[in-house]
């Protein structure tokens, strides 16, 4: 579930408010948005993908809240990780070109389509 909006990174753009499929955030009036309805978070990571400031962290646990430490997450490269995977953000190009799904059927067993 969504666990962190980093005050130091957040620019107050409210993109996460706008794009969250389950309407978890409330706008922060120029400040960081608030996680207003954490229980509605479905752990889809889309807010991480859309955050231009790499300010959000969605923990993998989908059924309960877990404590997180911003400095640890930041040091471990966890903030903005999904954007790196997608190739989204300034200076990056979409990684959709690196999709390997078509190679699955060429792999040596056990996978068979």
């Amino acid at each position: 579930m969504i666990e962190l909006i980093s005050d130091s990174r957040c620019t107050g753009c409210d993109i996460c408010v706008k794009i969250c499929p389950t309407n978890v955030f409330d706008p922060g009036d120029g400040e960081a948005p608030t996680i207003a309805r954490q229980q509605d978070c479905q752990t889809c990571f889309m807010c991480e993908a859309y955050c231009p400031a790499d300010a959000l962290y969605v923990a993998p646990e989908s059924s309960h809240s877990v404590p997180v430490d911003e400095h640890e997450l930041s040091a471990a490269g966890r903030l903005g990780e999904y954007r790196v995977l997608l190739g989204w953000g300034p200076g990056r190009t979409s990684n959709s070109e690196r999709d390997t799904a078509h190679l699955l059927r060429t792999l040596p067993g056990p996978f068979r389509r």
Partner: protein
Amino acid sequence: MSLELSCDVLVLGGGPAACWAAWSAASAGARVIVADKGYLGASGSAAASGNGVLAVPPDERAAVIAQRSDVGRGLVDTLWLERMLETTWRSLPLIEEWGYAFPKQDGKPVRNSYYGPEYLRVLRKRLLRSGVQILDQSPALELLVSEDGAVAGARGLRRQAHTYYEVRAGAVVLATGGCAFLSKALGSNVNTGDAFLMAVEAGAELSGMEFSSQYGISSALNATATRGVPYAWATFYDAQGHSLGGFMENRREDWFLPKALLQGPVYAKLDRATAEVRAVIEKSHFIAFLPLRKAGIDPYTQLFPVTLVLEGTVRGAGGVRIVTDDCGATIPGLYAAGDAATRELIAGAATGGGGPNAAWAISSGQWAGAGAAKFARGLGPQANTRSVKPAGRVGLDGREHAAGCFDSDVIIGAVQAEMFPLEKNYYRNEPGLTRSLVQLDAAWSELQRQPNVENTREIERSRTAAFLTASARWAYRASLRRRETRSLNRRTDFPQTDPAQCHYQATGGLDEIWTRSEPVRSLQPTAATQAHARVHEAR
């Protein structure tokens, strides 16, 4: 103040099917509005992940049609499958034209899968360029119906403006996805069966609701990222550390994992993945690895618990019954596309996951959009001056109510308690279904009370409780009537497939649910399947 708009075609939903429907209608010259529950681009099960697309070149189609027909256990309509393959094949280059970069092999693009977030980003951009008006964060609550029984718009909630909207339209396309009962299966919590209840309240029918028991494997700590492919290289273990073998190795019967999970916790390790395999699956199914990486688990060397998460009809097959080539429902002015529509026509009784559903979204979206545009045009300029009534009955404010208020969370919990457990939904039988239906009917009675309308979230949640309860009741009534096992309808009391029950089941009704058999229509072989038959005979 509520927002009032009008257009030719209103599309409800915001995933691939909604996008293709809106684009198609706009291309036919219609004024189009799309209203999505979340944000068109980020919401739904496709945006949150990635999908294979059943993209088949012409010379391979006969074989694919034969294979899919076999998997669909007699309920695939070969004509529909054939036209879907053709439409999808012709449409995929458009996505590239609009800015999506497919991978290349030998210098040529390979267009048979997509990264969800990027695909939907490109589709949104394309819609805005086509002049389509998008209402984000605007879940539809109910359809509007004209005096002559045609669907003429919808009413919904602008949940961030804390007000309602009403869109008058010549025709409506339902593309709100299937129903996964708020299981959190990747991105699917917006897919709560909204189209099913909205359609039935307006007078339409459903089909194939018994094929609603699809589950997907995920790590248990995350219980969200339901992507099965990496697990093909897993070894499974029980709590005592005894190997349960691999998913493959003649053990990949569908029931291997559910059976093991009913006996206790199951753990997995992707220890059969070689370096070559890892390099591929980490890029094709990155979303399955992301939660594990975040949790600090190395899935190749460490055991982690796994579970099955209900995907319901999202990757099942049931939905709004369509009776015309342009995906028209059984009432005028209403069309259905993507997972909101029945996918029996192209997937039969089996899951449409792994390619067919993504192709169906592209094709059915375009057919529904074009059909809706044509219907709206036929109505002429007076289309949006028709006198209309809201069709919604249950879980909405301002209707006739029994005394007292209902608690949405209690009802949703009660529905999930009947739909999530493997022993109730994966394995079905008459006593179990009957017991579940007693609970679900009780939830339906409870929904006749006043909803909580304290704020926008509660208004939406109340209606969602009704969407989920209705979907569950249709699913289990339809399953009860299908006294056989046919792919996703697994009946422990009728383990065999009965040739006499090789038909569709239409269903509908609100307080009283009905079911009816419908024949599989176009089984006459087409040119492609005839060619395939000749190949077979020659062998």
